[in-house]
Amino acid sequence: MEITLLYYLIPSLIMFCCGVYGFLTRKNMIAILISLELMLNAVDINFVVFNRFLFPGQMEGMFFTLFAIAIAAAETALAIAIIINVFRAVKGIDVRDLTKMKF
């Protein structure tokens, strides 16, 4: 069985959708953060796969992925820090509690 582009893209898409679904449904902010990671990783897979299968002669997609991973890490760190701050303030990390400002 030949492994084609699609075999990579479909899991990546599923990952991305899982991430979106998780973001939209989970209460726990850490879980939401994990969902976000899923989405970013799906993007990374896309880039790598495109590079590997469609444009094998160059490295642009790979490099982009490297940077994206780094950025994702920074984002996570920052988000965790902020969530901790919130936890200190409200003693909880349920995202649905954070609706003081609205309308």
């Binding site: 993007v43 988000a79 902020i82 003081k100």
Partner: protein, 486 residues
């Protein structure tokens, strides 16, 4: 490696130097000299701003890193505009930064702010999506920290969470779009993508990719429906950060948006994104206005106002011509002054009394005539009332848009114009609160801090002078003629 290419990055390097100096001062200066940090930063940045406007010595290169980075007079100009805005923000933030609670951490504030500015520079100058994404993230991630700066306020945290989570979601979408683009074209260079897009037939994937890209940048610009974070974040963040967010970050994003759409997707303008933008502009202006109608918190109110202003700025993009670009930059310039004047007043009052409700402004003119005068000018300018600068910027942005010439654009502009009436209504509400409402003044008479006053004076000068003195717009128009985008 040709190191002379770094000369092209004159402003970035200058900004890095400023950042380092501030960082070093903050880190290594003895405690007794720490008091000078704010003044040091402001003066340093003022020098940098002025230096940024100076013409490049000798024959500078105009691109670096194999064309991932380019510069041009237009970019220098927009960076200069941002610099001026940042300078005003710094001046206005002085009082807040030196308040008892923040004084310990003000160094971080300055440093984060300078880093985000650096990110915006990269967004503006990038000609490769890798650099652009780096810039975008550098511009948004530290902002989350800045939004969360007010440790003692719960709203600040809530705002930060909302910001960081939505921002990351948005960048995920954006990068997803980029990956599609990459998959379609095999490159992340703007020019290469553009040439491929121009040659190939429009595919559904390209459209979806474009929609995702628009959404990602639209998030920064807070275009409806990608705007929902804006109001909460503006309200929760410390006012200095809000003012920074609302003008500088938005200005950079608007320009970057223009560059991406014209440089990368210019070939599919009338096929795809012209219509997308029509929808977005109408939605943004209308929804922003409708929400702004019934706000009672000044910061939240200005958040929605800035959403609808973003819609007007987008008219410059819709036009997709040199005049639109010049008008866009001019709009940003004027918007910087007008909005910062408003935020300056809000900040002055908030610093003194902690009040940000619109009702707290009742009868303000009796106790603080100059503050209310400044606020009124800001509101008039935002509403586009002559002879204040906002009128000129609105007029030119509409003129620029209509230069495109289709009937559809007339309709779009008409809708935008009708929306200006709604916006006039809520801007006048502020004026009404200050001048007309009969209630006893809530805010007592006080003398605002020297830095706040300087900031407001600069803004007032800008509001009055930028329109009547025609050279600013003329210069921008001349520059954008040389940009060669279209």
């Amino acid at each position: 490696m040709d190191y002379s290419q770094f000369l092209a990055m004159k402003q970035e390097i200058g900004l890095l130097v400023v950042f380092l100096l501030v960082f070093l001062y903050d880190t290594f200066m003895p405690r007794r000299s720490q008091g000078g940090l704010s003044v040091f930063t402001i003066i340093l940045f003022a020098v940098f701003t002025v230096w940024g406007f100076m013409p490049c010595m000798g024959s500078c290169a105009d691109s670096a890193f194999a064309g991932m980075y380019v510069t041009s007079p237009v970019m220098m100009a927009i960076k200069g505009i941002l610099n001026v805005g940042v300078l005003i923000v710094l001046i206005q933030a002085n009082k807040w930064a030196n308040s008892e609670i923040q004084i310990m951490r003000r160094g971080e504030f300055y440093e984060l702010l300078l880093v985000t500015l650096f990110g915006m520079y990269l967004m503006i100058s990038a000609r490769h999506f890798l650099l652009f994404v780096i810039g975008l993230e550098a511009a948004s991630l530290p902002l989350a920290a800045m939004v969360a700066f007010d440790k003692n306020h719960y709203e600040s945290h809530e705002a930060a969470v909302k910001y960081i989570l939505t921002a990351v979601f948005s960048s995920a979408i954006f990068m997803m779009g980029l990956s599609f683009v990459y998959g379609l074209t095999g490159s992340l260079y703007f020019s290469t993508i553009a040439s491929v897009v121009a040659l190939e037939e429009t595919s559904a994937m390209l459209i979806v990719a474009l929609a995702f890209v628009v959404a990602g940048v639209g998030f920064k610009l807070s275009l409806v429906p990608f705007h929902l974070w804006t109001a909460d974040v503006y309200q929760g963040a410390p006012t200095s950060v809000t003012s920074y967010l609302s003008v500088i970050s938005k200005g950079a994003a608007a320009f970057a948006f223009l560059v991406i759409l014209t440089q990368v997707f210019g070939a599919v303008y009338s096929d795809i994104w012209e219509w997308m933008l029509y929808a977005l502009v109408i939605l943004t202006i209308t929804v922003g206005n409708l929400f702004a109608l019934r706000q009672t918190n000044m910061k939240r109110f200005l958040a929605f106002s800035s959403i609808s202003q973003a819609g007007y700025i987008m008219l410059g993009v819709v036009a997709c011509n040199a005049m639109g670009m010049a008008s866009l930059m001019y709009y940003i310039l004027v918007y910087v002054f007008s909005n910062l004047a408003a935020f300056g007043v809000i900040q002055a009052i908030e610093n003194k009394t902690g009040k940000v409700g619109m009702a707290d402004y009742n009868g303000l003119h009796k106790t603080n005539p100059w503050l209310s005068f400044t606020m009124m000018l800001a509101m008039f300018s935002l509403a586009g009332i002559p002879p204040f600068a906002g009128f000129f910027s609105k007029f030119f942005i509409f003129t620029g848009a209509i230069a495109q010439g289709s009937i559809a654009i007339y309709v779009l502009v008409l809708i935008a114009l009708i929306n200006t009436i709604v916006s006039l209504f809520y801007y006048l509400l502020v004026v009404k609160a200050m001048y007309i409402n009969p209630e006893q003044p809530v805010v007592g008479a006080f003398r605002s801090a020297c830095s706040e006053r300087i900031g407001m004076w600069i803004c007032v000068a800008g509001i009055i002078g930028l329109g009547i003195v025609s050279c600013f717009y003329d210069h921008l128009l001349e520059l954008s003629g040389t940009f060669g985008l279209f």
